[in-house]
């Protein structure tokens, strides 16, 4: 009777477990196996090369360049994007009247696909016919007009800003939810104690928002380091590797140079780096919560 009941209960989880094992667990194991082979993905024969793929990564200049570039985009997202998100949330938390209206509007970019966002901005930023350059010329600033996405000096920063435009809505919603959990009495109390708005902000808002800020930072880092579809739609990684990022390199190793083993090795290395970052952040957030 017990046994029959247990078997019956397994039926509930069976579909989920089957799909999960086939499409998550098996590929997960294969990444580690394939990383040790040189294989074009088509021929039945794979050549075992041990850790050669990983050694090659160490000296792969474009791989490390793409890593730094993803880091640069992440840095802009962490500072510019999250500062804007926080300021907007703070402003909305005080201003009650149109709060819902702004909340709806600010989350429109995050619900759009990266392809749509990328292609629309690419059109606006087009060097010859783009609206931005047109406006700059009309405002009497023709010197500022340039090929935003094909000039190596501006391409990466432009991509990073569009990425921030698309992403700030997430931080905004989480910050706003956090701000709304702060009891109003705390502000009242600090006003009674004679503190001005700035003091209340410094002594009440900031300390209570640190855990939320750490959470937003973790989500921003993990999300931004792995972002690449927006870049495919805007620049395709160019000009001359200037907007390449790690996941784009993995895709290129697989589809461009048909090196499945190397692509898997790149995926593992990058995954380990991401895990390390989130672990450090997790420890840091625990520390911040205790103090």
């Amino acid at each position: 009777m017990r046994l029959k009941s247990s078997l019956e209960n397994y039926i509930f989880v069976l579909p989920a477990v089957l799909i999960f094992v086939i499409f998550y667990v098996i590929p997960f194991i294969w990444v580690f196996q394939l990383g040790l082979y040189e294989w074009d993905g088509i021929l039945p024969t794979k050549v075992f090369v041990g850790l050669d793929n990983f050694k090659e990564i160490l000296t792969d200049k474009i791989w490390w360049q793409s890593m730094w570039q993803a880091g640069y985009i992440t840095l802009i997202a962490l500072t510019l994007q999250n500062a804007v998100a926080f300021l907007l949330a703070w402003a909305c938390d005080r201003e009650i009247k149109l709060k819902n209206f702004y909340r709806v509007i600010f989350f429109i970019p995050p619900v759009l696909s990266e392809v749509v966002v990328g292609l629309v901005w690419q059109w606006i930023l087009d060097g010859n016919y783009g609206l931005l350059n047109h406006w700059l010329v009309h405002l009497g600033l023709p010197n500022l007009a340039r090929n935003w996405l094909s000039d190596p000096n501006t391409a990466l920063t432009t991509v990073a800003i569009v990425h921030s435009w698309k992403g700030f809505g997430w931080g905004f919603l989480i910050f706003l939810a956090g701000l709304q959990t702060i009891p109003r009495e705390l502000y009242e109390a600090s006003r009674v104690d004679g503190a001005n708005a700035w003091h209340a902000f410094k002594n009440v808002t900031i300390p209570l928002m640190i855990p939320v800020a750490v959470l937003v930072a973790i989500l921003t880092i993990l999300g931004t380091m792995q972002a690449f579809v927006l870049i495919i739609a805007m620049t395709g990684g160019g000009p001359a590797y200037h907007t390449q990022v790690p996941v784009l390199r993995i895709l290129a190793s697989m589809r461009g140079s048909s090196r499945f083993g190397y692509a898997c090795a790149q995926g593992i290395s990058f995954g380990v780096i991401l895990m390390a970052i989130s672990f450090i952040q997790y420890r840091f957030s625990k520390h911040a919560r205790q103090t």
């Binding site: 709806v104 759009l112 792995q226």
Partner: protein
Amino acid sequence: MIHLFLLSVAITCIFPLVWMVSSSLKTQETIFRDTSLIPKSFHFENYYLAWMEGGFGRNFLNSIFYTTSVVIGIIIVSSLAAYAFSRLRFPGSNLLFFMFMAAMMIPIPGSFVPLYVLLNKLHLRNTALGYILCMINVGLSTSIFLLKTFFDKMPKELEDAARIDGCSKLGIWWHVALPLAKPVLAVVVIFNALNVWNEYVLALIIFDSKPLMPLQVALTTFQGEFITRYPLLMAGLTITALPIILVYLLMQKYIVKGVTQGAVVG
């Protein structure tokens, strides 16, 4: 001051979309010269051309089909599992649940490489079924988590009553648990629907043939082939963005709920 700041950011959020729609109504000749926001004449035929000639009609229907199939699949598979993890006893249930949760935490960038190999072996590459199964797996862990959290808090009295009335376990899941879970199911539906509609990279590696592609991949393919046909591209982008914006505006309270809940998860 604060109002000005909020308003100016709000305008930058909306403006690119307005410009997209405006560009989609211009002609191949006027689009490069006419920089007015409201075009002198409205060329709605671009939408017809994008739908028929550009092939976006087919891709639109594909996207609708993939999104509904995946969402229905996720709802059934994940609610069954979440209900079992919450209410039923069987050996190994904790371990299995932990496995799903671990998958949420561990990032595997480039997991599309072994998935491509796997689908090739199963002869599921370049098929709708292969894509749908992959996407069900993508949404599984978070959906199970959200649903289990809900079932854990749900009072047991109704299920007990149904059991006394002779309802089977599957019957209780279908007649009692699922109807009660409607608010959280709405969150699961909306987030997975957005996710599938906007998904790009799996569709890119799985589909070779254009008639099977969803909109997102078809758009980049179109842009690669007809680099200067901006009015049609903009019409295609509008066709892609519009359903998402409408769904979002209708369901936005569930989205806010989902984001704040999801934030607590992390």
